[in-house]
């Protein structure tokens, strides 16, 4: 509570309030107590809304099973085809049984990203804690799957048979490092993109009320409003593309686990 008054005071002092990171704060939805592992927070709400959106578009929307689909049913079918083709194209037919898992990741991310673009909302995917769980989860799943399917042959992933013999240990080392960097880049890419976009929008939004404060606002305010619009359009694109990137990388890692020999 105390902090909010600080913010208000700063805003009055400086005229403009720059708090681009405030939107990422997690706070309990009811009351103002500490956040336990089970506390329902604003982050929880937006994650569960993403789940509701998935249920609406994919479970409720597909209930008609119409031969000529309704618009809602079409959305579900397009999403299904999109991810299913991605899984089968990248991992091959034997990757199709991991389709529900990949679809879960894609839909969770895409709906979190899209819902996070609503004004006043919260983006769960802008938090490294969330994306890291998914990134590390994929990493562990894929690594265990590789060892379970191929045993020690899975290590062939690091041993380039078509490279000169002298270079192979060096390449193996580099491959090993890059393998362990995967979950890091995988999760930071998503959180970083979403966070950066939202922060930039907030910075422009902070400039928007300039017209109420100073004469230069005649110029600054329209420019910032236009900039917010442009960044927002870009963010819609990014919201989808980052979900796509996360998903296709998951497929690529899955392919490495299923077919480790290059």
């Amino acid at each position: 509570m105390k902090r909010k008054t600080d913010v208000a005071a700063e805003a009055q002092e400086g005229g403009l309030s720059f708090h681009p990171l405030q939107q990422f704060e997690v706070h309990p939805l009811f009351g103002d107590g500490p956040i336990h592992w089970y506390t329902i927070t604003n982050a929880t709400v937006w994650l569960l809304l993403a789940a509701l959106a998935v249920i609406f578009f994919f479970a409720y929307g597909s209930a008609g099973r119409k031969l000529v689909p309704s618009r809602l049913q079409s959305i579900g079918e397009m999403g299904y085809d999109f991810v299913h083709n991605m899984v089968v194209d990248v991992t091959g037919e034997d990757g199709a049984k991991y389709f529900p898992m990949v679809m879960t990741l894609f839909l969770t991310i895409v709906f979190s990203n899209m819902l996070g673009l609503l004004p006043g909302s919260f983006s769960p995917t802008s938090h490294i804690a969330v994306t890291a769980v998914m990134g590390v989860g994929v990493f562990l799943f894929v690594t265990l799957l590789g060892f379970w399917k191929h045993g020690l042959h899975f290590l062939g992933l690091f041993w380039m048979k078509d490279a000169p013999l002298i270079l192979r240990p060096i390449i193996a080392l580099i491959e090993l490092i890059s393998y362990f960097v995967r979950p890091v880049s995988h999760s930071i890419r998503l959180a970083g993109n979403i966070m950066a976009g939202h922060a930039v929008m907030k910075v422009f939004a902070a400039f928007a009320p300039m017209i109420l404060i100073s004469g230069i606002g005649v110029l600054v305010t329209p420019v910032s409003v236009l900039a917010i619009t442009a960044i927002y359009a870009l963010e819609v694109l990014v919201a989808f593309i980052q979900a796509y990137v996360f998903t296709i990388l998951t497929c690529v890692y899955l392919k490495d686990a299923l077919h480790p020999s290059h």
């Binding site: 592992w37 927070t41 994650l47 569960l48 679809m103 802008s126 804690a129």
Partner: protein
């Protein structure tokens, strides 16, 4: 109670530190976020796995089957159309040939009849012409005789009227000579 307050105080301190920087790096709500993320992922996974994906997959498969069947049916109908068109064309060609034959036969018949009729007519015409020629000759001969008779009588009367006396024989001879000339 005392421990709870210390924990809360510590939490508050950590909270404050994070608030100064990125809220994303505040570890106090990591457990919370991870817990609810796992819940969300499980909810979405089971909704997809048990309800949505089999349903959508089934719908898509049914649609693909229907489309394939419809295309096959369309192909079959197309074959039937081609066959029917061929049968129709064959029938048309056969009918044309038949009609041509009938026309030729009819033409031949008519020609034969015509030839027969012409020949018959020719014969009749020539018979009629011969008969007519006979009649004309007869009439002409009759007319010659009548003319000779009239000429003789007229000549006799003329001679008598002119006061001459002529014997029938010389007058006849004279008229005959004249008629010949």
């Amino acid at each position: 109670m005392a421990t709870t307050t210390t924990t809360e105080a510590a939490t508050e301190v950590a909270h404050g530190a994070a608030k100064a920087g990125m809220p994303q790096l505040d570890p106090t709500h990591f457990a919370n976020q991870i817990f609810w993320l796992v819940v969300t992922l499980l909810v979405i996974f089971f909704v997809l796995k048990l309800v949505a994906l089999p349903r959508i997959g089934g719908t898509l498969a049914t649609r693909r089957g229907t489309i394939v069947n419809d295309l096959a049916a369309a192909e079959e109908l197309k074959q039937k159309v081609v066959a029917a068109e061929k049968a129709y064309n064959d029938a048309l060609v056969a009918a044309r040939a038949e009609a041509g034959k009938i026309v030729t036969a009819a033409k031949a018949d008519i020609q034969a009849d015509l030839n027969k009729a012409i020949a018959k007519a020719d014969v009749e015409i020539s018979a009629k012409a011969a008969e007519s020629a006979g009649r004309i000759d007869e009439i002409r001969a009759g007319a010659q005789d009548a003319i000779a008779e009239v000429a003789k009588d007229t000549a006799k009367e003329l001679v008598a009227a002119l006061g001459g006396k002529a014997d029938a024989r010389s007058i006849t001879a004279a008229v005959t000579a004249r008629l010949k000339g």
